[in-house]
């Protein structure tokens, strides 16, 4: 049996908005196995993105722990978390979040260059070919369509061959056909590079493409009535 690559234990996150405290995550125990494709669904504000950000080391929990590949993220400092994000996870955002000053090739290789590793140009070209953006590498993000930008963001997430791909509504800004293309490509590449895939989505069709679907409600894992 595959071992758990992601494990959260009583994970809670509270935000303070004015005088109010918003409970985004409330004691979440969650596990994802290696090479598993998990989709997370739930209503807006239920804590999906917060959970994904906790797993990706983008945010700090109020209480509880996040273990990724045997590492306790709560014990890491900012520098270590940056290294973790660069090497262990690949993020895909709904807004693509490409860096506007860099062309697509530089955007894709950005995490590798941050790490000072030699870029495997052949791999990048193959990745771009797989994602149908090989002819867009010299262009800047603002020159590309939404679907192309999202595929570039996927390429960036995969470039460092991370163990885990975290996608936060990657198809939120795409039409149905492009959405299925993107998820299909994600699934294919994740399988190809033996990666764990966690996708947040509102689209039940996409959720059904996953090995397992987890539903969040009011900051907790919904376990059914």
């Amino acid at each position: 049996m595959e071992k758990a690559i992601v494990k959260t234990n009583s994970l809670s996150k509270h935000y303070h908005v004015g005088t109010q405290t918003v409970i985004a995550l409330d004691g979440v125990d969650f596990e994802v196995k290696e090479r598993e494709f998990v989709s997370i669904i739930g209503k807006s504000g239920c804590g999906k993105s917060t959970l994904l950000h906790m797993i990706g080391g983008l945010d700090f929990p109020t209480s509880g722990t996040v273990m990724v590949d045997g590492m306790n993220l709560s014990e890491m400092n900012e520098e270590q978390l940056a290294l973790f994000r660069r090497r262990k996870v690949g993020f895909i955002f709904q807004q693509y979040n490409l860096i506007p000053d860099l062309n697509i090739y530089d955007n894709i290789t950005f995490p590798l260059e941050l790490d000072g590793t030699i870029v495997d140009k052949e791999f990048i070209r193959e990745l771009a070919k797989t994602l149908h953006i090989a002819d867009r590498l010299a262009m800047f993000p603002s020159m590309l369509s939404g679907g192309e930008q999202q595929r570039a963001a996927i390429a960036r997430a995969l470039a460092a061959k991370p163990a885990i791909i975290l996608a936060d509504e990657p198809t939120g800004n795409l039409d149905t056909s492009a959405s299925h293309d993107v998820i299909g490509l994600l699934k294919v590449t994740a399988e190809k590079y033996q990666q764990t895939l966690i996708v947040i989505t509102h689209d039940l069709d996409i959720a059904q493409m996953a090995d397992r679907t987890v539903r969040l409600q009011d900051g907790k894992i919904w376990k059914g009535k």
């Binding site: 950000h53 945010d59 700090f60 940056a82 506007p100 000053d101 995490p111 800047f140």
Partner: protein, 856 residues
Amino acid sequence: MEGKVILMLANNNRSVINKLAGNTVRTNKRQFSILFLTILLSSFMLFSIFTIGLTYLDLSRLQNTRLYGSEYDIAVMNGFTEDQREILISYAGIKSVGVLAYCGNVKSSDSDRSVYAGFLWGDKTYWESQKAPAVTEMKGHYPKARNELLATKEVLEACGKSSLSVGGHLSVTYEDHTGIHTMDFVISGIWKGYGGDKANFYVSKDFYEQTGCDLESDGILQVKFKSNYVTGKTIEKLKESLGLSLTQVFQASEYIEKSLTILFAVLGLCFIICLSAYLLIYNILYLSVSGKIRYYGLLQTLGMTKKQLVRLIREQILLVGMAGTTAGILLGVSVSLILVPYVVKMLGISLGNMGLCFYPEVLALSILVTTAAILCGVRKPVHIAAGVTPVEAVKYRENVVTPRTGKRRRGSLYRRMAEAQLKNNKKKTVVVFLSLAMSLIVFFSLTTLIDSQGRRTVYPNYWDADFIVHNSTQTAEDITSLRSAIDDAFLSDIQKTEGVAEVHAVKGIPVTFPYEESGFSDFWIKGCTELKPYLTYADTVSEYQHNPGKYYGMIKGIDESEFDYLNESLGGIIDKQEFLSGKTAVLQYAGFEISQEWIGSSISFSIPTEHSAAHFPAGRGNSFAVLPGIGNQKQEITVGAVSYGDYYGATVNFGANLIVSETYLESLTSKPYVLSLNIKYKQSYDAETEKKIKNIVKANPCHNDLLSVSKYDDMKTIQDSQSGMFEMGIIISLLLLLVGMLNYVNTMANSMQNRKLTFSIMESVGMSKKQIKRLLIHEGILYAGGSVFITLTVGTGITWFIFQSMNYMKIPFTIPVFPLLCAILSVMILCVLTPVVTYKKTVRNRSVTERLREYE
């Protein structure tokens, strides 16, 4: 079916827009504070710089007045006619026409047998209008009666009567155009102030009229224009209108001749300052409005028309602009009219009669430029905001500029990203470069100008000596008058003084030139009698033949180093070996034209012996001894050149002065008099060495017969006349630099606000804060490098141009390396640190998620 048309009916929505504009500004204080600060700094800069700048210009003119001794723009010398004076008085652009005349020189007083001082007479306009700005204190009154003198402490000291006060009596022997007279005078007044006339007495009109002097041949007309800026054409026209004779000299001051160029240079500087203010406001306005495009898009989505949106943005900017301008002006008033005078007072700097005062035109200009900058600067961003559709607005990102080429850049990641940041937002980059460079350029120009003003303190004295001591025992007609006021012990004390690098002595002995008809002595008599109207050629020749000692000259020996300097000043025309061996001498100019026929000619002289030891008091006069076989024997030497320098002291004798080599002099006398000492310090203007030298001079028993010239004292005098001008200039330069730097901080703070999302994205994909800081340091270095490059290239050109335009003193152009280096270093440190610090402040302790959420 007919299509429906929605009609826009006029309604009063001004109040809702006003309310919205006010609310937006109140609730977005943080974002609008940067715009507010920029406008505040710009109006503050304009107000303070122009207020202090105007005072600086006034001080600069006051310095000229003090250096020249009175306030005038044009002098008509060598006499004038009453008609010419009338023409000048009736000339519309002229403020005052004063009359000044030299009318005699003091030869001795009842306390000092050798005095170097002159008699001057000035009319009421001269004294009360033109001289007044250079007079700081006046006791008593200008001479009215014939026997009254107006003195300074300096001239009284020269007469050996420093204790005299107003009403005191002084007996002097003086020479005028009618002859040599002795008269008892009453001191009618004592004045303190500035000018070369401090070594002279002012006399009454009655006294002047009986000196034999004539305004038509000796008078000077001093003309002051109403305006400080006059064209060359006006000066030329004025000159032509006077119909000057061949002997009259029309001399415009260097300042007034260059005044129009100076005005243009000042206006050029003002333009750069205004442009710099405009660029800063424009840049921040652009960044400020484009940073709120999403919000404006939202308003459009809710039904706001483009027209209403434009009005809203304008009202927001107007509110912030009014507040910023008011605050800036108030800050300017506090700094320039309260803080700066306070600091100046605390530092003990005298501004003389000048003070920083409120100029309404400066206030108007500051408001005008700031308002114009806001109105012009707001047009483009408003156009962008109104042109973006609501959907585009949601996706709008300020720093997304589609590059023309997708070509991949080479170099390290940080360098590529930093370059991309600068290249992709060229407008912002150019504005930042220009605003920083302009601050540096204005600083560069001002420090160069101020530094050149400072360098006016260096008087071009002979050989740039730090201290010169002259033996002033000599009188004009007595060949036995010279005393050994500078002896070996004194010379040795000076040489041994710590801090003294070199001491060069000019030595000499009196000589007589035998009368030869049509010979050298005859030529000399003709020249001298032209200068002294009371002497007739025939009588002088007759007396000369009977008593040549009365018309004695001097032979002065200089060392090899001094010869090298002298020869260089003469253009190297003298053969060194011939000079050193005593074949050639240099003839010293005495005030009349020396014909070229004497260059290369041999002249005779002899050293009388009969007057020697008997005339001198014991122990003081016996230093002069003629070598055996020399006394009263005819000697010959060839004139190699004429020196027009007035350094070689003791020039009161009627006869000629011959400069020869020290070796040659020693072949004539075993022990000559030391006439002057030329002292050079290891460190120029060294106060400690100066003090020691002055103490040695004071301790000399003959100190009353020593005349000292100190470069240190000259520097102090001129520094005093500058009246805090230097400090004012430094304050302006520093203010400008500070404002430029603050504006860079402001621009960067705004830029960081607008790039928050990009940084968050970078962090989300694994860039550490340390790496972001490295990237920002790279950007800072590029900004600093670019600005410094512009400053050192274009800036040097601009500075040179401004300097030359204002350089009426003909001072060589020198870059003030130290202040410029300090400014460049400060700018570099600031450029590197600002992005890092502002990034840190922008990020605070919020997680990447929190920061990313702001944009969702």
